[in-house]
């Protein structure tokens, strides 16, 4: 990372106007290209990793809008004519990605593209990566994902009950091909760090049109923001997103961990909208709800109550 890292922010006035969304995405990408912050090799294989963590539509604030990825694909084809574009996501504890691709419209939208492939990372051939990371010694990753020439991560502007925010860094956690990821939740920040260290995205795009606040990443409340955020570095993109959502970036553990692991100092330039003008407060769970929840689930209290009852 260097002082030239760039974050672009575009605000959409009419959240339902796909033409406006397309123009915003094209303008952001054009600006990044003009400033030489997008360097895609000729005849390359591009991998796009969208955040699809449940079969819930983009308007619920849970998943990335497939049309955002469609506009990104259109721009890539227009500008670089890549050999192939792979859109891939893995199964998760409560997700069958093949069904999600179908039900949420990804199959329908991308059926007209001859060089675009939808890929279930959990079904792809794996390659073993020696990582010696904060949690994983080594990781079995999708071969197609690891061997692609250029990686674009498309995240969603959301809160997360464990990690505070989920934008790009947390999106990369989903690239782990293992379906049952729930056991990792106890070490989530370390696992997020490892999944980014295994392969850093080359370009980051955040769907902040309708984000999510409250009990994210799947059970929160939609937060209409009308924002598209772009960045050429995962750390600075999430740093900017955290600020936009009203969080202090230095309180986000996985952001700090990755900065430490990569020995990075966060410094970046923005274009488009200013962070301060679009900044708002995303609510997380209220503290009294947290206290009540932990009391309710406390094993010792449960035992005492069971004894009293009998």
């Amino acid at each position: 990372m260097n002082t030239n890292d760039l974050v672009g922010i575009s605000e959409i006035k009419n959240l339902k106007n796909r033409k406006e969304i397309k123009n915003s995405i094209f303008n952001l990408l054009d600006e990044m290209k003009k400033r030489d912050h997008i360097k895609i090799p000729i005849n390359s294989k591009i991998f796009i990793k969208p955040n699809i963590c449940l079969v819930k539509c983009c308007e619920s604030g849970t998943t990335v809008d497939p049309f955002i990825v469609k506009f990104l694909v259109d721009w890539l084809i227009e500008n670089y004519n890549p050999q192939k574009i792979i859109i891939g996501e893995a199964d998760a504890t409560q997700l069958n990605i093949d069904i999600a691709f179908k039900v949420l419209g990804w199959e329908y939208i991308f059926s007209e593209y001859s060089n675009v492939q939808l890929l279930n990372l959990s079904k792809d051939d794996n390659v073993k990566i020696n990582l010696n990371g904060l949690y994983f010694e080594n990781l079995d990753m999708s071969k197609t994902y690891m061997e692609s020439d250029y990686l674009i991560s498309v995240g969603k502007l959301k809160t997360h009950t464990i990690t505070g925010i989920t934008c790009i860094l947390k999106n990369q956690y989903g690239a782990n091909p293992i379906k049952y990821k729930a056991p990792y939740h106890k070490h989530l920040d370390e696992v997020i760090c490892d999944l980014n260290m295994v392969r850093m995205p080359d370009l980051c795009l955040v769907d902040g049109i309708i984000g999510m606040e409250g009990k994210g990443p799947v059970s929160g409340i939609p937060k209409p923001m009308g924002l598209i955020i772009i960045g050429d570095n995962v750390l600075v993109t999430d740093h900017a997103c955290a600020k936009i959502m009203g969080f202090k970036p230095d309180k986000i553990t996985h952001l700090k961990l990755i900065a430490k692991e990569t020995n990075s100092k966060i410094s970046y330039e923005t274009f488009g909208e200013d962070i301060k003008t679009v900044q708002t407060n995303f609510e997380l769970i209220s503290s009294w709800e947290n206290i009540l929840g932990s009391l309710y689930n406390n094993k010792a209290i449960k035992k005492i109550m069971a004894v009293i009852r009998t």
């Binding site: 449940l54 619920s60 997700l95 069958n96 069904i99």
Partner: protein, 341 residues
């Protein structure tokens, strides 16, 4: 019979907690999964074919917890083997099947109970009591809604049978709501009109349906059922010439002509009190304890076998629900109102 989620999470835990019940046998086609569950609950006899189970075991009753389209055959076979049956809703997929089951049960003098457990929720019992106590005056209108995230949105079905019939929303949520209407109003629905949409790309499943109906006493009703919602929600309101009443799974609110903001504050206070006492009451209970309604329906069904009483929800009730569902289906197809005979 059938060791899927409803058996595993509701029926088996409830039956196992009762002193006078032994779960002696279970049948499930998916052997690996089925055996694991049978072992966990100490069920000695395991079969992958229910007909062999019916023939080999001396059973007082069987609980049918299979996918909807298998209810009829499994229930009929059990009745033919002289076994009392508790069948999860719906009792078959059409009126003819349900009538056949009721006839067979009557002929064999067996009990046939059906799992419409939502009508046993305390708030809906209160609503039904209020309506039937004539405190609403003459009932004129009603509205009901039952929506949730549904399969894929809220859970991943282990098989795709949910999507093989494009009308499965009707049998999932529609059957509960229609049973609730007829139970609360003590009135048969005689006319329906419905519209539906499919919002899942590439799937023709109708996942949202709205409609109107009229009952035998000229009560007008409207309903909404749907999957893909962000949250679970259910509510029924009934309006009469004397008062109105509104209920959902957490509260019941009675509105009369002089209802004031003070009444609203008092209602909120009393429902908060109930929610807090339920919360405190559940603190010591085992995680994943089945809903109270399952205890009520199962205990009542077992008592009906011993005392030769009727189960809480009978085969005849289930036929009435299926008549309405078939008419809604017809209305969706033909885009016109349908009269129910």
């Amino acid at each position: 019979m059938g060791l899927g989620s409803i058996a595993k999470n509701m029926h088996i835990p409830v039956l196992s907690s009762l002193n006078n019940v032994i779960i002696s046998s279970a049948a499930e086609k998916q052997v690996d999964n089925g055996k694991k569950i049978a072992d966990k609950w100490g069920i000695k006899n395991y079969y992958d074919d229910y007909n062999i189970m019916y023939e080999s075991c001396d059973l007082d009753a069987v609980f049918i917890c299979l996918p909807n389209f298998l209810h009829y055959n499994a229930t009929l076979s059990a009745l033919k083997h002289d076994i009392n049956v508790f069948c999860e809703k719906p009792m078959g997929t059409n009126v003819n099947e349900a009538q056949q089951l009721v006839k067979t049960a009557q002929k064999k003098d067996l009990n046939l109970g059906v799992g419409y457990n939502r009508r046993l929720m305390q708030t809906y019992q209160n609503l039904a009591d209020t309506v039937n106590s004539y405190r609403l005056g003459r009932v004129l209108q009603t509205h009901g809604i039952l929506v949730n995230p549904g399969p894929y949105g809220g859970w991943i079905p282990s098989s795709d049978w949910f999507f093989k019939d494009i009308y499965n929303l009707l049998y999932d949520l529609g059957s509960h709501l229609m049973d609730l209407f007829m139970f609360i109003l003590s009135n048969q629905i005689v006319e329906v009109y419905a519209q539906g949409v499919s919002t899942m790309y590439d799937l023709e499943v109708i996942d949202n349906i709205s409609g109107f109906f009229k009952t035998e006493d000229d009560i007008l009703g409207s309903f909404n059922i749907g999957w893909r919602m962000g949250s679970k929600y259910d509510a029924i309101q009934v309006h009469g010439t004397g008062a109105s009443v509104f209920a959902n799974s957490m509260e019941t609110e009675f509105r009369h002509a002089s209802y004031s903001p003070l009444d609203k504050i008092s209602d909120n206070f009393s429902s908060s009190k109930k929610i807090i006492s339920t919360f405190i009451g559940n603190v010591g209970s085992t995680a994943g304890r089945p809903d109270e309604t399952y205890f009520k329906e199962i205990i009542a069904f077992l008592e009906s076998i011993n005392n030769e009483k009727k189960p809480l929800v009978t085969g005849e009730d289930a036929i009435n629900v299926l008549k309405v569902l078939e008419s809604i289906k017809k209305s969706l197809n033909e885009k016109k109102e349908v009269h129910i005979k």
